[in-house]
Symmetry: C2
């Protein structure tokens, strides 16, 4: 299992426009081999910025990397963008391997 | 749903000791109301540090906050610590609400 997260720092007051982009676009992820789950997370908010994280689980890192070169990726990323001034800097990508796991069903 | 993440920056060469602490300690999370899932993630590694993230899902933020004041929390955190020099600074806590979700079973 592999978790791909992108961290977005959003300017104060620009949160609704950012969220709207995610709510209305089609990610085409269901058609992608190895895709398991997508979440959009809203984290800490300060006077300077709000932190959002796109959180996507894949069967493995190779499936994630194949997606970034795919037609589904291209289609998902050519849709509507958030208004100018929404983003404070570039998104910060972080990829993670799962070392340990415990849940209430195991 | 609420996701609590703690970010740990680990000194080069100290990764095995850090991982060992997580593998061997008992978290007592199964007994905690509202606990859903725990993962330990290993992220990007640079010459300066390796990023690890403890990633815990809760039914809601109130259940997470109640846990931090509980006997289970106290027991989990009084166990063996990683060797001196393992941590580069304090862990950075970030809590997240789930705004959107999509997975292969929905």
């Amino acid at each position: 299992m592999y978790i791909a997260m992108n961290r977005f720092m959003i300017a104060p007051g620009k949160e609704p426009g950012f969220e709207e982009v995610w709510k209305t676009r089609d990610s085409y992820l269901e058609e992608v081999p190895g895709f398991v789950e997508f979440k959009l997370l809203k984290g800490p908010v300060s006077e300077e910025a709000a932190l959002y994280v796109s959180h996507t689980i894949w069967e493995n890192k190779a499936d994630f990397e194949a997606w970034t070169c795919s037609e589904a990726f291209r289609k998902a990323h050519k849709q509507a963008k958030a208004p100018d001034g929404t983003y404070l800097g570039h998104p910060q990508f972080e990829g993670f391997e799962v070392l340990l796991e415990k849940n209430i069903t195991k």
